[in-house]
Symmetry: C2
Subunit: 218 residues, 2 copies
């Protein structure tokens, strides 16, 4: 039994080696430029070997995609410590965009790429991807209960907020944010989040001091 276990572990290690190598190459050259042969060459195996561990190239992409969803979920959870719902939502959006901009290749894989296999995509997202969305909905609900938002359909508000951060992240990733200097992106994102959230209550975030002050955005 010990040998069988070792074999299984070796198999699993090979899978993660392939995944890790693939992701490194993706980060280096973009996933549309990476071939099975590239990956095989890097790990010094024949291309055919990869097909012993993954059904096809898509399965590699989808596995990494799923990895991305898990990373994002973990990253987002860290923003749930704040007490005030609106502040929490603000931080939530900030964390989302931060993840996207720091892991553009993952984000591309998760939300921007055309999924080759629709079925697989959906089942994949359902598990952990939906969990992220539920997290958002909870947050939105609490903001609504606290009177920060007008009372309306939660799905609409949640989807709207998601759209907002996704739009910001994906436009920047596709290089449409060139009107902002590289180093100014972060503060732009801050102001954009304020523009979305603060005006709903006509208050202004003072994020430096982590408190709410009255006034209008400048």
């Amino acid at each position: 039994m010990s040998i069988k276990q070792r074999k299984e572990q070796e198999k699993s290690e090979m899978r993660t080696l392939i995944l890790k190598t693939a992701m490194n190459l993706f980060l280096e050259k973009g996933f549309e430029n990476i071939t099975i042969r590239n990956i095989a060459e890097k790990i010094e195996y024949s291309p055919a070997t990869i097909y012993l561990y993954f059904k096809n190239k898509d399965e590699i992409l989808f596995t990494l995609r799923r990895e991305g969803f898990e990373k994002l979920y973990e990253h987002q959870k860290t923003s749930l410590k704040l007490d005030d719902p609106l502040m929490r939502l603000h931080k939530h959006g900030e964390a989302y965009i931060q993840f996207a901009l720091e892991n553009p290749e993952y984000y591309d894989l998760m939300f921007m790429m055309r999924g080759p296999v629709k079925e697989m995509q959906e089942t994949n997202d359902c598990d952990i991807g939906l969990a992220s969305y539920e997290l958002l909905k909870t947050n939105v609900k609490e903001c609504m209960d606290a009177g920060h938002f007008p009372v309306m359909n939660i799905d609409i508000v949640a989807f709207s907020l998601w759209s907002y951060v996704h739009g910001i992240a994906s436009l920047i990733i596709r290089g449409r944010g060139i009107m902002f200097p590289e180093e100014g992106i972060k503060s732009m994102v801050e102001e954009a989040l304020n523009f979305m959230l603060v005006s709903k209550t006509e208050k202004k975030w003072d994020l430096e001091n982590k408190q709410i002050i009255s006034g209008v955005n400048v």
Copy 2:
């Protein structure tokens, strides 16, 4: 000279035939599944012939992309007749999303696809793509002047609003709007636009009657 002109016209007609055929095939099966050979077969020429009219596959994509920018620009201009700046901006966003959802393949080409040739992408967008953005900025400026928005950096507000509609459109195009029934998408978009714009002035759009009434969103 007449013959030369005819030749030129034939050349141009062939180009548009290729473009039209390519776009039809894209609409049918998605552009990632269409090959030069597919296009050639459809117009009953050899694959090599296409290279007499286009440098390569990317040039076809970029030409169609540019076509998309022109279509969008024309489409958006129709929404500029409204007098009230905020109403105009609302209509602007509505038109943008409508274009994206009615021409998802164009929209994909324009804003979602990974551009293979960065340089070409930029020059392409500069002409007409930037014109669209300038249109938006003008609109934003007028809203700000009219007191609908807090006074802040116009680029930030413009980019934020663009991000919003882009986020909505691109998430729906990628099938992330499944929490809304197909026939409910349009009204969801309406509510989402209200959520973004109306709360800034604490007024509510009554789009049925095309006028602004006081109150809070429901």
